[in-house]
Amino acid sequence: MDYLIQVRDLELDYHWGDHHKSIFQAFNCNIPPGAFVSITGANGSGKSSLLKLIMGLIEPNSGAIIVGERQVRFGYVDGVKDGQIAYLAQQMDELFFGETVAQELSYQKEQLTSEDHQLLEQLNMEHLLPRRIDTLSGGEKQGIALVQFLANSAPLLLLDEPSSYLDKQAAQVLRKALVRAHEQGRTIVHATQFKREVAWGSHVLDLDSQQPRVERL
């Protein structure tokens, strides 16, 4: 397979009442398997939208996105359900299901794994296990989301400005884990505002450029 992700003639507009915002016009790009792609661009350039399109969370006006051999279907999030895609959102406020941290992390498994415990320890967050989710700070929520995300073995990792809410120590855990995942051959697509984080990867997709394309660093 030459490319894990193929974006073909994508058009995306958002509408609200009389207002309209155009995000992509005739946009094409290809992401090879095993690449670590950093998506950069100004606010509103489409970084988060592209990740959501790859997952099937939002519907393009036209065009297609193919992940592996399969065209993405809007509303089905097939890749996430099949364990092929793991996603870490910018803001985790509304994406937790459990009442406590322990319940959240053991969702769909009998008990926490040794990897879960290891990650919690690295983030100095083991003491949060009995805590109710609604009592966590913004940074703690992002840390718990990070544990969930990193414990996922999906071959395609999508991250939307994940380090924004993280302190120095948690950001270092994220960097090491992503570099390791890349070495293991997993494909990573990472939206970021931080120049330094672009250097973690192998490729960059600058959505501010006239003809955005995935380029090797």
């Binding site: 207002h19 009592t135 700070s137 302190d167």
Partner: protein, 219 residues
Amino acid sequence: MSLTIPALSREYPGNDSFRLTTSEIQLDPTGFTCIIGKNGSGKSSFAETLAQVDQEPPWFYLPQFMDRFLFAENLLEQLETFFSESIERERLQELLIELGFTDPDHMLSFPFILMSGGERRRIALVSMFYLKHHKIILDEPEIGITPKEKVVLLTKIRNLKAIDTRVILISHNEAFVKESTSLICMKDGTLDRVGKTEALLNEPDFDLSVYGVRSQTEE
């Protein structure tokens, strides 16, 4: 005259392991104060509680999560709910340009729902700067905005001292921390260190990374 921050105390139902307990502190009123600390150390709890108890005059608190602040459909509607006077469009447009919007007239009535996270953050900052509050608390305002806009934000915060505005800023960003006049260092819901930034940074045992501050080379 110094800026007095009263003693604060707060408990959280369902969370026996965390309690906010801080003593009264006196801060240098010039420049701005930064609150630093690792995730979960109590920075936002401190700021929210301060904004609730210290009402003379009230603190304007800009939260981390913009959806809790941008409740109207667009910027004009948002400001009209705070403001009984007519909106000074020209000043508002100048602020929009300063914060990186290239089509300010359009942005006045552009719906928040169509904006990205970073755009909503900048719109919230425009709204806050427009309202000219005398006491402001910004909770990690740099999240989601580009490095260029961070420089603008830092300049605007620096300029607020000229109009006698008190500013408290929560941040993990070294550039903001080093520009501050005073530091409040939080740990486990308590004040670990408090003092003038310059003095603390010159202390041999003081280390910003202990408080989760990310260096500029990491961004």
